[in-house]
């Protein structure tokens, strides 16, 4: 696992390439047998499980599991089907079960050992998010749905343990015990506290002006959830602390996933932030966007660490593995250009769905202080990073 060797590979790939391969410009390892349709979510196995297993849910109604070996090679392991596109996946903390949420309004629990999946949740509308909550006195699944409810399920019972009303359709959520946060349509933002039993903790006025798209909780130095990063369709991420010493100063937003970043003369292209993921060790965050790039950021130093080359398709999902050595990102169509395709061209002549879809696993150099100190050499590559034809 020559991680540092990979860093020069990164630079070289950018430098020497006369024609940029936009399918896999970062020269990362491509996952074998990707799903047949866009990938909506990725999740790596938790630390309790030896080895790295990657779960990906897709719009082809399936959930696939790959084993990711240390050299980056992937081995497809198993697959389960829903009757509708899968929108979210998550692992139980012991790594034995995978929970999948789908547009068929159900969530299923997939026991990997027996390769059986049973339904554990039901909503009135597609379920957008699913998370496993492990509390000292209870375990449950939290599902957020477009029927504007947030339900908590004990996997053994067909009725929810609890059902909370949301102001609007649930668009994204994240859980790091004892905190859960849900972002809904119409810029709704609610934080829940999960001790004893889930209850609404606070409704927050959204720091963003447009539709919420993705959210991820980050932890502080004591490994306790301290706040969250919220991404919108407008190429902007807000970092919000729950109880900061100085809210005005500590909370901030930054722009990302925009074209011609420095040039303000010509109008920018603004892309949606499709997913945000925090590095489990370093606390740096990765954002992936509709522009087909992923970026790493340090929210404490408020700097951008790296942006990838541009892929030919939007990046729809991303995930770090449990120790942060592997970063997986999926490149597939995210429907962001539907207005363009349907209004600019007659039906049938433009691809209305994805063209190619694949997930790529990359062994990335760790985002660590060592990385930052070699920024001197990185700066050389910065021009290549940003300047695409």
């Amino acid at each position: 696992m020559s991680l540092f060797g990979a860093s020069t590979g990164f630079g070289a790939g950018g430098f020497g390439a006369a024609t940029t391969d936009t399918h896999n410009p970062m020269k990362d390892v491509e996952v074998t047998s990707p799903p047949d349709d866009s990938i909506s979510c990725l999740a790596f196995s938790p630390p309790a499980m030896p080895g790295n297993f990657l779960i990906g849910g897709s719009w082809a109604n399936d959930v696939r599991c790959w084993e990711v070996q240390d050299n980056g090679q992937t081995v497809p392991k198993a697959q389960q089907m829903h009757t509708g596109p899968v929108l979210d996946v998550c692992w139980s903390e012991d790594g034995s079960k995978v929970f999948t949420a789908s547009c068929d309004k159900t969530a299923k629990m997939w026991d990997l050992n027996s390769n059986q999946a049973i339904q554990i949740a039901q909503h009135d509308a597609p379920i957008r998010t699913v998370h496993w909550i492990k509390a000292p006195n209870y375990n449950c699944i939290m599902t957020g749905s477009w029927d504007k409810t947030l339900k908590f399920w004990d996997t053994r019972s067909p009725n929810p343990m609890m059902s909370l009303q949301l102001p609007e359709r649930c668009y994204c959520a994240d859980v790091v015990y004892p905190m859960a946060v849900v972002a809904s349509a119409d810029r709704g933002l609610i934080v829940y506290q999960l001790e004893n039993q889930p209850s609404e903790f606070r409704r927050i006025d959204s720091p963003l002006k447009h539709q919420h798209r993705c959210i991820a909780i980050f932890k502080d130095k004591q490994n306790k959830p301290a706040g969250f990063a919220l991404g919108s369709i407008e190429g902007r991420v807000a970092i919000h602390y729950i109880n900061p010493p100085n809210p005005a100063k500590d909370n901030f937003t930054f722009k990302c996933h925009r074209s011609n970043g420095t040039n303000t003369a010509t109008p920018q292209d603004i892309y949606a932030v499709n997913a945000i993921s925090f590095h489990p060790v370093h606390g740096t965050l990765a954002t992936v966007g509709s522009d087909g790039r992923f970026s790493f950021w340090d929210k404490d130093a408020r700097t951008k660490l790296k942006t990838s080359e541009q892929l030919d398709q939007p990046i729809t999902a991303c995930s770090f593995n449990n120790n942060g050595n592997i970063f997986a990102y999926a490149s597939s169509y995210d429907w962001s250009k539907v207005t363009f395709y349907l209004t600019a061209a007659p039906l049938g002549s433009q691809p209305l769905t994805y063209m190619v879809c694949w997930a790529s696993v990359t062994e990335h150099y760790p985002i660590s202080p060592i990385w930052i100190s070699i920024r001197g050499t990185l700066n050389l590559g910065k021009g290549i990073l940003r300047g695409l034809p």
């Binding site: 119409d186 720091p207 447009h210 539709q211 809210p247 920024r375």
Partner: protein, 419 residues
């Protein structure tokens, strides 16, 4: 916070660090959360005069720092509060560019211009009216950016705490699911029409806000001062939205998926989006009411102008939502019946559920007749006069629903139709 006397004399040695208030101009008047404590330590108590310049604390925005402006970003201090983030470079302006690499390497760019109109800072005690003017300008600028940037169209938008009306909020996943649901029926044109329609609505709203005509200005100012409740979609006041959003999700998945196939016109296609909530629904409704398609091709039988509303009649009759959609699901052609178009509100249930149960009887009749009643009725009339109807039949027509086994074979009298 008490006003700092030294500041008033121009000699406060704490500068921005001072715990008392340093009013901008004329003192007081502006009661917002004025955090005199400086966001950045680098302003070494430069004295009163200097303190002004780096006043970038955004907390004063009404609403208390909703739009978090990282004050330490936009000012040009030496970046010495950045800590290790700067990396190997020196702590001078060169490092600044790397520090601000969040958005760009240009140090003086105000990254948050969309969120924070810089000029709003210096408002001090000028009061709400000025704020609103700035907000209107912000709105205009944002609209311009939105139009040219190619970002997702179906998003809400807001300047203050509440969202600005007139924007439908749909996520890409919802639209995509919609596409996948309509694909089996092959009615992609309907889907495309709906998208087009939504785009047009969006575009007109954006242009309206961008132009900021007198009317729009007044409306916007009213909104900014009194945030409207989220449920109402201001842009489409002409159509009733009640009952839509609440009942939409349940009916959507099942019932709407089916009827949507048959009608080709935008409006019923738009009925698919009623699930998206009041905003979207009213948007669809609004367009339906305003732009009634003259002769929808798919149905043929819909000669009346009401059919556009037909798509929604079964939706707006929230009480019978469940039954109506279920009823529609069974007879696939039933969605085309003009009968539903002539009723609204409670009558919708009457038409809908009745056909659900009377499918074999009614559907066949409608399949043939253009007016929908031709086969059933005596050849010379569409409606049966009261006199020709028996007691039971009158009772059936008068009731909310048909009872199975007693559905009249003759069309109802015209005055019993609730339009």
């Amino acid at each position: 916070m008490p006003v700092c006397n030294f500041w008033m004399q121009g000699r406060c040695r704490y500068g921005d660090k001072c715990w008392n208030e340093h009013p901008k101009a004329g003192g007081g008047g502006y009661g917002g959360e004025y955090n005199s404590r400086p966001p950045q330590q680098s302003n070494r108590g430069g004295g009163g005069g200097f303190g002004n310049r780096v006043w970038v604390n955004p907390a004063q925005r009404s609403g208390g720092g909703n739009y978090v402006q990282p004050s330490s970003f936009s000012s040009q201090q030496g970046g010495n509060n950045w800590g290790p983030g700067g990396g190997g470079g020196g702590r001078d302006s060169q490092a600044q560019s790397s520090n601000f690499s969040f958005a760009a390497s240009s140090p003086n760019q105000n990254r948050f211009s969309a969120l924070n109109t810089q000029s709003s800072f210096d408002k001090g005690g000028r009061g709400e009216g000025e704020d609103n003017e700035k907000h209107l300008e912000t709105i205009q600028k944002d609209m311009e950016i939105w139009e040219t940037s190619g970002q997702w169209l179906f998003s809400c938008y807001s300047v203050l705490k509440a969202t600005i009306s007139g924007f439908t909020e749909l996520s890409p996943e919802e639209l995509r699911l919609e596409y996948y649901n309509t694909k089996p029926s092959g009615d992609l044109q309907g889907y495309a029409n709906v998208i087009n329609q939504l785009v047009n609505q969006w575009r007109s709203r954006v242009q309206e806000l961008r132009a900021m005509s007198g009317n729009t200005r007044v409306a916007m100012l009213a909104e900014l001062d009194n945030p409207a409740p989220q449920a109402a979609s201001g842009g489409f006041g002409s159509t009733p939205v009640t009952g839509f959003g609440s009942s939409a999700p349940s009916g959507f998945g099942t019932g709407f998926g089916v009827p949507a196939q048959v009608p080709v016109q935008d409006t019923s296609g738009a009925s698919n989006f009623s699930f998206a909530g009041p905003g979207a629904a009213s948007a669809a409704l609004g367009s339906a009411a305003s732009a009634v398609p003259p002769a929808p091709t798919g149905i043929g039988s819909m000669a009346t102008t009401v059919p556009s509303a037909a798509g929604f009649s079964f939706a707006t009759s929230a009480a019978n939502k469940e039954t109506t959609t279920a009823g529609f699901g069974a007879p696939a052609s039933a969605s085309g019946f003009s009968f539903a178009s002539t009723v609204a509100g409670g009558g919708g249930a009457f038409g809908g559920s009745g056909f659900g149960s009377a499918a074999p009887v009614a559907a066949s009749g409608f399949g043939q007749a253009s007016g929908g009643f031709g086969v059933m009725a005596p050849a010379d009339s569409l409606f049966t006069p009261h006199s020709q109807l028996s007691e039971e039949e009158l009772k059936e027509f008068g009731g909310k629903r048909f009872t199975l086994g007693q559905i009249p074979l003759k069309p109802p009298p015209v005055n019993m139709l609730v339009v």
